[in-house]
Structure formats: C-alpha cells, structure tokens
C-alpha cells in the first residue's frame, strides 16, 4: 500500500521533470551537436567527431568573404534596429495614445510583414525598387530589413506603453516638464524594457535574414547568412559549424548583456 501512495505522490512530478527535460534536450541538443562538430578533427561534417581540433576556427579567417560579410550584416543589423526602433516607437505612441479613424487598420498594416511570407515581401520590394529605377545597394537592404523588423518593435513597445500609467506623465507635466522633457525623463525610461526587447528582436531578425536579402542585395555585398549558404553549397566541412559556434557565443553575449542592462524577463515581458 505504501509504495502505491508514494507513486501517486511522485508520479506527477516525475512526469513534469521528464517532460521539461525532454523539451530542453530537444532545444539544446542541435546547438550542442553543432558546437561539437565545429571542433571535429575531420574533413567533413561528421558526428560523433573522431577527434578534436581548433583548426576550423583558425580556418575562418581564410574563408573567402566571410569577414566582410560578417561586418556587413553587423552594420546592417545595427542600423536596422535603430531605424526600426525610431519608426516603431513613434508608431506605437500614435497607436496607444490617440484614437483616430483607421487606427485598428494601421495596426494590422504594421503587423502585416509578420503574416506575409517574407519571400513575397522580398519580390514585391524588388519590383517596387526596380520600377522606381533604384539599384540594389546597401540602402535597399536597409529598407527591406527595416520593414520586416518594425512589427517586433511595435509589438513590444505597445505592450510597454499600455502597461504605463498615463498619470505619471501628467504628474511630470504638472511639475513643470514640457512634453519633450516628459517623454525623455519619464516615458522613455519606463518603456525601456519594450525598447530593448524590440531592438534585440529587430537585430536578430535582420542579422539572420536570408529571404529578403536574397532579392535586395547588390552584387558586391553579401550578408552573412547568404555567405554561409553559398559556402555550404560548395563544401560541407566543419568550418561552417565553426561559424555557427561564433554566432552562438555572440548570441550568448547578447543575452548576458540584456540581462545585465534590463533583466531578460522584463525585456521579454514575462
């Protein structure tokens, strides 16, 4: 009888932990495998690795066009996040603070890049630019990426603004702050979690975008995701895994920085 009661007590917990463990394994296992492969002492992507070496990391510098592509993607993602934050935040302010005809419609419109298949958005933008006679350059990439990252900023900033009690702004006004000072000293610091989260989403979305870049990139500029893809098409050696390894470390650093600056759970609105 006692063992039966013991099972009844522990079975739900066992199932919960088991389920969570499996979920984590499912999420983390590919990353772990990629990291292991990047150290593999083999000529091809091979698992389990027969031995360990750092030579694929050393090889990165010699990969054709890798460093320029990385710098291009970094520059692009930084500019895109800044632009998306500026446009998205102002749009959120309009959506949250004012009621005007077509407000709901505008909201749906701003969210539409999330619903539209990016490949369609890419073709549409390409046609749009070529009709206007604009050649594919860094600028066209910037416009395309900003368009698809604005929804992330709008979503996060809107959530933050809705959580903000409007009377703290009124209190600031009555204490002598003009509308701009109120925004700068009160509103902006209080919606910071939304800005950080929106900015990170925008950065990541731009940094690993392939489908939009594919249509809008110029002949000489190749963003990192496309560079990696081109490389895989030709050779399948562990240097690609090494690139992934660098990106994983890069992401972890980003997560740590966010945690230090605002606290990750606050930034993600959970």
């Amino acid at each position: 009888m006692r063992w039966r009661r013991r099972i009844a007590t522990w079975a739900p917990w066992g199932m919960l932990y088991g389920f969570c463990g499996l979920m984590l394994l499912f999420l983390v296992a590919p990353i772990v495998i990629v990291l292991l492969v990047s150290f593999a002492d083999a000529e091809f992507v091979y698992f389990p690795p027969p031995g360990f070496t750092l030579r694929w990391y050393a090889h990165l510098g010699r990969m054709e066009g890798l460093v320029p592509s990385f710098l291009l993607s970094l520059r692009l993602a930084l500019l895109v996040s800044a632009l998306a934050l500026l446009l998205g935040t102002t749009a959120s302010l309009a959506l949250v603070r004012y009621t005007f005809p077509g407000r709901q419609w505008l909201n749906t419109f701003l969210m539409s890049p999330l619903i539209f298949p990016p490949i369609i958005t890419g073709i549409a933008l390409l046609q749009f630019f070529s009709t206007l006679g604009i050649r594919a350059t860094f600028f066209t990439l910037l416009v395309g990426h900003t368009l698809i990252t604005i929804p992330y900023v709008v979503r996060n900033v809107t959530a933050s603004l809705q959580g903000l009690r409007s009377n703290v702004e009124e209190a600031a006004r009555l204490l002598g702050a003009n509308p701009w000072q109120t925004f700068w000293h009160i509103t902006l610091p209080l919606i910071k979690p939304g800005l950080v989260a929106g900015g990170i989403f925008a950065f990541i979305t731009s940094f690993d975008n392939y489908t939009i870049s594919m249509w809008l990139k110029s002949a000489e500029d190749t963003p990192l995701p496309m560079r990696i893809f081109f490389y895989i098409e030709r050779v399948m050696d562990p240097s690609v895994a090494a690139v992934s390894g660098v990106m994983i470390v890069f992401s972890i650093v980003l997560v740590i920085v966010t945690e230090k600056v605002v606290g990750l759970s606050r930034a993600m609105n959970v």
């Binding site: 009690r165 703290v168 009124e170 209190a171 600031a172 702050a177 209080l190």
Partner: protein, 366 residues
C-alpha cells in the same frame, strides 16, 4: 497665494456633459472640497484647473490670469493623484527633485529644498529615505512623498484627487488632520476631490456638492449640513429622514403638512421660502435631531407615535429604525448616555417622537 475662479466652464466627452457651465470661486488660502458621487464631474473640474483637460467653453482664472491656452507645465499648480503617480524608476530624492530640476534650480539648492520638504511631511527622520524607491515605501509614506513632490516647487494652488482613498481608516484620519495642518501652515489655496462626505466635512472650509456636471450647493460644512438646499444634498451629506406631502392648513403661526402616508407634521417655513396651503413640500429631518420619549411624555403638537423596529448599537450612539402608526419610516440617532432608572428601549416598544420645528428643513423641488 492665489485664488481660483471658474466662469461658466463646460466640458463634454462625446455625448457626456461632464461639466455643465460650472462657475466656482475659491478664495486665496481656502480649502474647497468638490464632493459628489462618481460621474458627477468633480474630477473633470479639477483636471481642467490643472490644464489636463481643455474646456469646451468658459474661462478659468488662477490669480486673476486667464489660463486659456496655458499648458499644465506653466500653470504653477501642484497635484497629488489618487494613486500618487510617483515615478517608479526614480528614487525618492529624484522624485521630489523632479520639479526643481525642470526649473533648472542649482543642485545644492535642490538638496536643501528636498530635505526641507521631507521635514515638512515628517519623512526626514526615516533613515535613507532619499535613496529608496517608491515600491519600497508603505501607502502612507508614498502619499507623503507625493505631497512633498507637489509642494517643493511652491505652487500657487494645490489639487488633491481623492488623496486618502487608498489608505486604511486610521491612517486616513491622521493624514487628513496632518494635511489640514500643513495647508494652514503654508496657507496654500487647496482644492480636493472626494466622494467621502466625512472627509469633505473634516478638511474643507467650503464644500461644493456636485451632481451631473453642476454644482448643486456650495457653502461651509455647517451650511450644507444644516441647511441643504435639495434632497440630493440632504441625502448625500449625512443621513436624513424625508417627508413629502401637501400643506393642509395654517396652524399656530406655522403650517400643517399631511404626508403621503397621512401623517400630520407641523412646521415653520423660513421667510425665504414662502408657502401656501395646497403647496407640495418636501421636508428633511436629521436623525440626531429627533428625540424619543416614552408614550406618556410628549412634547409637541401632533407628536407621532412610532414602533421601534430595529436597533443598531454603535458604542457612542445607537441608531433606532422606527415606523409611525401612519407608516412613515423614521431613523433616530441617540447619544448613549447614562439611562438612569429608565429601562433601555427594546424592539417593539412604542415611543413618542419629537423635534424642534426649526429642524425640519424645507427642500427645494428637484
């Protein structure tokens, strides 16, 4: 200090008329309560004074200056919000200093001014208060900080929006006294919004009783309590017994009213309210103005007899719910004094009720 003057101010929200041609004069250094049920326009009235709402018509003057087109941040009006609206991301020091920084006051002056105002609201003795954040304070402390923040810039007018609503009863009462003393010390013109009649009576020099976007009556606490103009005011401030009916006859220098339930009441209308036989009248009678005596010792003409139906004992007073033979329900508040040899009143006892005729208040028709 400054006076505040509203002239025919109207404010609409869509179809809702929140302020219907409100005129109001608040003297310099005075405390006025805007009292009324929710939706009566009291908060809107305060917000238009602060410049947080723009009136559709009418003018607002602060210290004789027309406020039209003058934004909130240039009005020299301090306001304490119902939920205090402290800045959650700023320390107490920075919360209070905010107004001074916006005015570009030198940082050394800021320090001393913040300290002075913390002393004023009795928070200076709390160690490290300046470095704490709003969420680390209790409700009462937060309110003191909100008060300090609004006073530090020495505004001409102080607005308080349901300032004590979030505090428990004991704390509320002590804060009310404290705010009143502080106001008298500073002599600052103060307008506050409340739905709590007791709070209005405690704090205000004058009370404006509001209803449906209009001021129903304005006067000292004594005036609005002792001579309410309408049934609404008599009902909203304190508790009243109401009698309505027709004037039946003149009798002994007064008039005789026959209530709808058929109870005769003798009363003397004041000179400003001339009444004639046949007029419809509504009377109010405060429960504490009614005396209850055993049946045999009656004290006034047409003294009604009433049966005690329910008794609520509240320590200092007892409330008796009675019903007259004609069916009028009358509430009586009696001080609990030494009853001597008399046996206490019990449910079912028939008593004789009496009151002074001047305590019957003649109300204006609604």
């Amino acid at each position: 200090m400054a006076d505040v003057h509203l002239s025919q101010v109207t404010k609409r929200f869509g179809k809702v008329l929140a302020m219907d041609q409100i005129s109001l004069a608040v003297h310099s250094g005075e405390v006025v309560a805007l009292l009324g049920p929710s939706g009566c326009g009291k908060t809107t009235t305060m917000r238009t004074i602060a410049g947080l709402e723009t009136p559709n018509a009418g003018n607002i003057y602060i210290a004789q200056h027309d406020m039209q087109g003058i934004p909130s941040h240039k009005r020299a009006v301090g306001m304490v919000f119902q939920d205090y609206a402290l800045f959650p991301h700023l320390s107490i020091q920075d919360n209070i200093a905010f107004g001074l920084k916006m005015r570009k006051v030198a940082s050394t002056t800021v320090r001393s001014r913040v300290h002075d105002v913390l002393k004023l609201v009795h928070l200076a003795d709390l160690p490290g208060i300046e470095q704490r954040y709003p969420h680390q304070l209790s409700g009462g402390q937060r309110q003191r900080v909100a008060l300090a923040r609004s006073l530090v810039t020495a505004p001409q007018v102080l607005l308080l929006d349901e300032p004590f609503g979030a505090l428990d009863k004991k704390l509320r009462e002590s804060m009310q006294v404290e705010v009143r003393l502080l106001q008298q010390q500073l002599g600052i013109t103060t307008i506050f919004v409340t739905h709590d009649q007791e709070e209005a009576l405690t704090l205000a020099d004058r009370i404006a009783v509001m209803r449906d976007g209009r001021i129903e009556q304005m006067g000292t606490p004594h005036e609005v309590y002792e001579s309410p103009r309408s049934r609404f005011v008599a009902d909203f401030i304190g508790v009243s017994n109401f009698f309505s009916g027709n004037v039946e006859a003149e009798y002994e220098g007064g008039l005789l009213l026959r209530t709808v339930h058929g109870m005769p009441i003798w009363f003397k209308p004041p000179l400003r309210q001339p009444l004639a036989v046949g007029d419809t009248v509504q009377l109010a009678l405060r429960p504490e103005k009614v005396t209850m005596l055993p049946c045999d010792d009656t004290a006034m003409p047409y003294a009604p007899f009433a049966t005690v139906q329910h008794i609520v004992y509240l320590g200092t007073v007892t409330h008796y719910y009675t019903r007259t033979m004609q069916g009028e329900e009358i509430i009586i508040y009696a001080q609990n004094q030494d009853m001597g040899h008399r046996s206490p009143v019990a449910v079912g006892d028939v008593m004789s009720l009496s009151w002074k005729p001047e305590h019957l208040l003649v109300l204006e028709a609604d």
